[in-house]
Symmetry: C2
Subunit: 395 residues, 2 copies
């Protein structure tokens, strides 16, 4: 027998498994009432259009669609992304998933012990990546008062300064956050960008949900406020389909240059045919036509879930009211343990993700994230009813 432990790198000891992905191993999400994953609705994938577009791409590009390609991404897709978001193409790097975007930014910016500042709670996959590079993660609580909001970040920054820790970047999902569903105001974004200048750190703006807005007005991206300070991560997963594993980074050329060299040794280049298919979807308007339908569907689902929670949840349970995205966040009365409770829920064929998994401090045991994009509308009432019934029995 080989003793493998002696071979593992130090980073390995900081890896942790996604509790969300562990859930997916235990159950078939299609056969239960799942509010768990961040999965788009299967009904939003434009299957016939993809089939048609794939055939067109093979006819149009031929062997080029299957050969090695540029590490930055194929020019057609880089240009389409640059056009859509009105940025120079030199500021566009295509990634093999926006998770790779998080990972490669961390790799290029973070030494063990460096601080990554995050909202608290925040996206689990980002926490996985930061921890895997042994970053010191400092989660900052959210205050809805703008002065207190600023003060929370100043306090965290001053503490880092005091202990000699180097803050490399702030990780933020300003639009329809995962897991809270909340959106930062323009004022809040300006505060954060201002602090980035003042304390000299970068901002990684993770923006996978931004185009899924169901009400209200777009708020400018942090990237648009400070394009040299902010790296924006985009994703095709929620506006097109996750199976393609394609995303992008918008950033200053000086930063992209290092990311580009890193990506050479990570995977050489993103999948080629998939990039051409995504480019065709963007430029032909097919993506936008499909996205419009997804938004209508998800708006209906969000409204339905909000009304069902109001109808079934006992007093003392509160939740966020997201203007877009895929999630809302529930807070149960103090004392409720959403981690322990999880097995009971699963026995009753309901799944969610415990809110504490998204936190940097182990708190928030009485919170849970509910996804409303995946579960079929016809099954949502039954799911909420079951969940609410068990909640009632446990508070």
């Amino acid at each position: 027998m080989v003793d493998y432990d002696r071979f593992f790198s130090q980073d390995v000891h900081s890896f942790f498994r996604s509790p969300v992905r562990e859930i997916f191993k235990r159950v078939d999400l299609n056969s239960i009432y799942s509010f768990a994953g961040g999965y788009p609705s299967a009904s939003t994938f434009p299957l016939e259009d993809i089939k048609k577009t794939t055939a067109e791409v093979i006819d149009k590009y031929g062997a080029k669609a299957f050969q090695y390609g540029a590490t930055q991404g194929v020019p057609e897709l880089r240009n389409a992304v640059a056009d859509r978001y009105s940025v120079p193409v030199e500021r566009v790097q295509i990634t093999s998933s926006s998770q790779q975007g998080i990972d490669v930014c961390t790799r290029v910016l973070v030494n063990p012990g460096d601080v990554v500042l995050t909202s608290n709670p925040t996206y689990l996959g980002a926490l996985q990546s930061f921890k895997s590079y042994r970053a010191k993660i400092v989660g900052v609580p959210h205050s809805s008062d703008i002065e207190e909001f600023r003060q929370e970040y100043v306090t965290a920054l001053e503490q880092c300064k005091g202990s000699g820790d180097k803050v490399k970047f702030l990780y933020m999902i300003p639009d329809f956050q995962n897991p809270s569903g909340e959106t930062l105001t323009l004022e809040e974004r300006k505060v954060l960008v201002g602090l980035a200048e003042e304390y000299n750190f970068l901002i990684v703006e993770d923006s996978p949900y931004r185009e899924l807005r169901y009400e209200g007005e777009d708020v400018p991206t942090m990237y648009s406020l400070a394009p040299d300070r902010v790296l924006l991560l985009g994703s095709f997963s929620k506006i097109f389909a996750p199976g393609f594993r394609l995303g992008w980074i918008l950033a200053a050329p000086e930063l992209l240059d290092k990311i580009y060299v890193c990506k050479q040794s990570l995977d050489l280049c993103p999948p080629i045919m998939d990039q051409y298919v995504a480019a065709e979807f963007l430029t032909s308007g097919r993506l936008d036509r499909n996205l419009k339908k997804s938004i209508a569907l998800y708006k209906g689902k969000r409204d339905l879930l909000l009304s069902l929670l109001a109808k079934y949840m006992p007093e003392g349970v509160t939740w966020t009211r997201p203007e877009g995205g895929l999630f809302l966040f529930l807070t149960m009365p103090e004392g409720f343990d959403a981690v322990k409770f999880y097995d009971v829920a699963l026995d009753n064929e309901v799944a969610y993700v415990a809110g504490t998994f998204f936190r940097t401090d182990g708190k928030g045991l009485n919170t849970m994230r509910m996804n409303f994009s995946f579960l079929d509308e016809s099954r949502m009432e039954e799911g909420v009813r079951i969940l609410a019934d068990i909640v009632k029995q446990h508070i």
Copy 2:
């Protein structure tokens, strides 16, 4: 202006650009006589079959082909790989390219300063990855005498031991090596596996070319000799098409478990539809039928290049005679500088890769790698004639 330098991680200072990929930026490989990249011939991509299979996959799997999937790879592809190579499916991890396989193995196994042992020369993309994690790369020269062969490795291992360096793994391409084209004998493989036991290190066996054999008999993989010591990296790039960016790792479940958790934060999962297409190609026999044609084509190209070198190259130039793969390796008389000479060649529309780029010690200035898979047979004679003419003028 933001001073970005202060933000970069220590790893970044060890990144280096692939000189091969830099060449691809300078010229359109299709318009010159390119012996440079490790590109398969575009004519080997089964375009019509891929188009048909993609449509079939979309009909068969529907939305599942575009949803998130398992981090280990879709079961259909894992099973197909397990069947093809007669390994238990628990020992199969699908990767988003075999370059990712190299990267993730290094990430999971290597701390800065740890030793990675390699043949010298070896694959450039592997050197990029090892250096990016600040590994100490120790290149070992190849001797064709089995006792000397063993002794070279023992010397290197003893030196590491003496200086307190921890050897984590040996990186090897035993079949039709990149860049040399050479294949390790069974005896040599047994020596290396024996040393791995004796000195307690692992072996990463990079095996992208193994199925492209044009003569002689298969030699057992090192993985088959010691499945608990060896991680085998496979690739669809040379037996199917590089554009899919799909590969696999065969290894002990204890190792794959860490690689699996690492891959969660790297990119969640490989592209889904592409995996189903690859699985269909494997199980339907389409891949093998196509591979048979590729082998016939490449055998012809290898034979042609060997005969052209014999016809045109001046005395004093020698080259390897590969039994398979995509490359052969030329040695010019001492004093010839293949790096300096490269611009002259490019001015005359011929491209190759200088052999020194594949070395860990900067030596081998008088060597070059020639690829024979990419350039069309009809253009090969002219390419070799031009190259040989300039060589004659410079030795």
